[in-house]
């Protein structure tokens, strides 16, 4: 019996070893494997959640699908490796994943000391507050003397202290070990306010006994720019990941969507022509085909569509575009032109 099972284990291991190749460039490696390996969140509402059939959905998930679409013209050629916050960067450093799209905050130390590169910001997040409507508070500046529920040992707790101190306000913190406990305590009335990243506030609010009784205050007290990460040193690969995001933004700005991309191929607008590859050789320059953006938009959609579908009006979360609107609409999402 031992032998049989040992045979299987050895067989499994051998077949996996055989498939692996030594990496020259990440792009070649990905093409050789035939799929993209994407480090993803093991479960965060709107960013990476399995549906009833086990297919991953979410903003970060769609970003990986967009890269796969650009390379393979097939958004399903991506394998998701769900990673915890602790092992996400190690998995990228060790080459286990090709790209990390797991709502990771872009900070200087992560960008410069880990041998990693952030290629852009696909979601501007920040810490916010939720309070009960009947508290009659409309701004975080009015929270003087409030009891605030938060999660222990997170940057959230530190930001909270900074915010109250810099505004000369008193507060009392009630900290819990897990996000669930924290929200439950708030929902049960132990605190006046609940604080975490704004995207998380919307997700937690849905779980409240009466979601309509709670409002998210407009103040954002910290910067949490979330973006995809690649290994340092492979600039071609970083270019691809960076420009996949920019292509989705440019598509939204130019009004090219999943539905009208085929008509837009005939467009005479030179900017659209360059985006869709009917003019110039921009795709080939980064190592993919010239119709790379068409593939992304056709299979996944432009940034606005992805946002609305996963976290915006088309989803139960109903997060406003806010800072994530295009720069033309008062937001921060700004893509350099393709030319």
């Amino acid at each position: 019996m031992k032998r049989a099972i040992a045979t299987i284990a050895v067989g499994l291991a051998a077949s996996l070893f055989a498939g692996a190749a030594f990496a020259q460039s990440t792009l070649n490696n990905v093409k050789q494997k035939g799929f993209l390996t994407c480090g993803s969140n093991p479960g965060l509402a709107g960013f990476g959640v399995p549906d009833a059939q086990g297919n991953w959905t979410g903003l970060d998930v769609d970003f990986c699908r967009a890269i796969a679409a650009a390379i393979f013209n097939d958004p399903t050629k991506v394998r998701f490796i769900p990673l915890s916050a602790k092992d996400r960067f190690t998995a990228l450093q060790s080459g286990e994943i090709d790209v990390l799209a797991r709502n990771s905050t872009w900070t200087m130390s992560r960008d410069t000391q880990l041998g990693l590169d952030f290629t852009g910001i696909n979601y501007y997040d920040g810490q916010g507050f939720m309070v009960r409507k009947k508290l009659g508070v409309s701004s975080a500046k009015e929270l003087n003397g409030a009891t605030v529920c938060t999660q222990q040992g997170t940057t959230t707790e530190l930001n909270l202290a900074d915010f109250f101190r810099s505004n000369n306000m008193k507060y009392e913190v009630v900290a819990f070990a897990t996000a669930d406990e924290t929200f439950k305590a708030y929902d049960a009335g132990r605190c006046d306010a609940f604080t975490t990243d704004a995207s998380g506030l919307y997700a937690e609010r849905l779980k409240a006994a009466n979601p309509d009784e709670h409002i998210v205050l407009p103040e954002i007290i910290s910067k949490e720019p979330l973006g995809p990460v690649v290994r340092h040193g492979d600039n071609q690969w970083a270019d691809i990941v960076r420009w996949v995001h920019f292509a989705m933004l440019n598509a939204e700005e130019l009004g090219v969507s999943k539905a009208n991309v085929d008509q837009q191929l005939k467009s005479e607008n030179p900017e659209i022509k360059r985006l869709l590859g009917t003019e110039g050789k921009f795709g080939e320059a980064i190592g993919v085909t010239n119709d790379w953006a068409v593939r992304i938009i056709k299979h996944v959609g432009n940034y606005g569509e992805v946002f609305e579908r996963n976290v915006g009006a088309g989803s139960p979360l109903k997060i406003q575009r806010g800072q994530n609107a295009l720069w033309t609409k008062g937001g921060l999402q700004y893509a350099p032109p393709i030319r």
């Binding site: 019996m1 031992k2 049989a4 099972i5 045979t7 299987i8 284990a9 067989g11 499994l12 291991a13 996996l16 070893f17 692996a20 190749a21 030594f22 990496a23 490696n29 093991p42 479960g43 965060l44 509402a45 709107g46 959640v49 399995p50 549906d51 009833a52 059939q53 086990g54 297919n55 991953w56 394998r79 998701f80 490796i81 769900p82 990673l83 915890s84 602790k86 092992d87 190690t90 998995a91 450093q93 060790s94 080459g95 286990e96 669930d180 929902d187 997700a203 849905l206 779980k207 409240a208 006994a209 009466n210 989803s315 139960p316 979360l317």
Partner: protein, 383 residues
């Protein structure tokens, strides 16, 4: 003799029906008196227990059954303000997600293969565990040789057989829980026996390595082994070389369980009187014959409770693979409970309750089965 005298004389032809015993010594009342209210301490304990039952059971029943929601397709089904009544467990969510809980992300068109795996597994388990089953030796060969090969081919697939390969990153849910525990259980017993024999061996090198392995593996927590396998190992391998993410914890769990099993088996070996060894040797049996025919059958019987205890512990420990990103049942529950389509106050409780029920049924089944086997194997020594 005249007729009149005959008529007066009474001879009972049938025995009198036995009168019922006094109601206070038999029947439910007596049972209650004897077992529940035998003395003041007993009475107080009974009342306390009764109070705890009355306080806890009805709310639990109310939450899990009476207020529970059994059907629905999204969060509205389980929201109190939509239904206008308090909502207990949201079983509709479990029903909606059940495929994910069982198969993980295994491709939908290929899920028949997982079903076939479960059927083959049930067949093998039934054959092996049903003590009166025909040809049990064939059953053992099937379970330990044929079944693992079939299972591997079925689940991972191969182009040669026309089965689409399915990477292990898509496996999940109960499938992964079953695989991890099965590999641990099936590996740990033989490895454990070998290690236990090695530890009691007179050959110094074998003894040394057995002791080192057992003590080293027992000296670190399982979680450390798993972290080493999934986080550290890739850093040491050349870039691009990977061992499958599922195989790594499988090996870790198997080694870990073997070390514990070795100590359990060693306890059994030490309980066998020296006379058994000497008797076996005086019959001219060599070491392996002595072990296989005389010592191990007795030793293993003694430690059945310990072995099953290790199995049950191992089965529950498999949830730790969730921490290194393997999607076992607990991880699938955790991943799906954040789904905004099912955001409702009782979703978390329901998800964990479902996992709890699954684990309880499996562990309880194992323990009942082991009790039955123990009783049967100990028949010769019943007093």
């Amino acid at each position: 003799m005249n007729v009149a005298t005959d008529a007066v004389r009474f001879v009972r032809a049938e025995p009198v029906a036995a009168a019922p015993p006094p109601t206070l010594t038999r029947g439910p009342v007596a049972w209650i008196r004897e077992n529940l209210f035998a003395g003041p301490v007993n009475t107080v304990l009974t009342l306390i227990a009764l109070y705890i039952v009355i306080v806890t059971v009805p709310p639990v029943m109310k939450f899990f059954f009476i207020d529970a929601v059994w059907s629905g397709s999204n969060r509205d089904a389980c929201r109190p303000e939509v239904l206008g009544r308090p909502v207990g467990a949201c079983w509709a969510y479990v029903i909606d997600k059940i495929n994910y809980f069982v198969y993980g992300s295994y491709p939908i068109s290929e899920r028949w293969r997982v079903n076939a795996f479960f059927v083959l597994l049930a067949l093998g388990l039934g054959w092996l565990l049903w003590l009166d089953a025909p040809r049990r030796s064939l059953g053992a060969i099937y379970f330990f040789v044929v079944f693992p090969l079939l299972a591997y081919l079925l689940l991972s697939g191969s182009h040669f057989l026309g089965l689409e390969p399915v990477p292990t990153s898509l496996w999940g849910g109960i499938l992964v829980t079953v695989i991890v525990s099965l590999v641990g259980i099936v590996f740990s017993l033989p490895f454990g026996v070998v290690l236990a024999l090695g530890r009691r061996s007179r050959l110094p090198i074998i003894r040394f390595f057995s002791v080192v392995f057992i003590e080293f593996v027992r000296g670190v927590p399982l979680i450390t082994v798993l972290f080493m396998a999934n986080t550290m190992l890739p850093l040491f391998l050349p870039e691009g070389t990977t061992v499958d993410r599922l195989v790594r914890p499988l090996v870790g769990v198997a080694l870990f369980a073997s070390a514990y099993m070795a100590e359990v088996v060693r306890g059994g070996l030490q309980a066998i009187p020296k006379g058994q060894y000497e008797g076996a040797m005086s019959l001219g049996l060599n070491y392996w014959q002595m072990m296989c025919f005389i010592i191990l059958p007795q030793a293993l019987r003694i430690v059945i409770p310990g072995i099953v205890n290790t199995f049950i512990g191992l089965f529950k420990d498999t949830t730790l693979v969730a921490i290194v990103g393997i999607f076992d049942l607990i991880r699938t529950v955790e991943a799906s409970r954040v789904d905004p389509n099912w955001a409702a106050p009782t979703i978390n409780t329901t998800g964990y309750a479902f996992a709890g029920i699954f684990y309880f049924l499996c562990c309880w089944g194992m323990s009942r089965y082991s009790l039955a086997v123990e009783r049967r194997l100990a028949a010769g020594q019943r007093r």
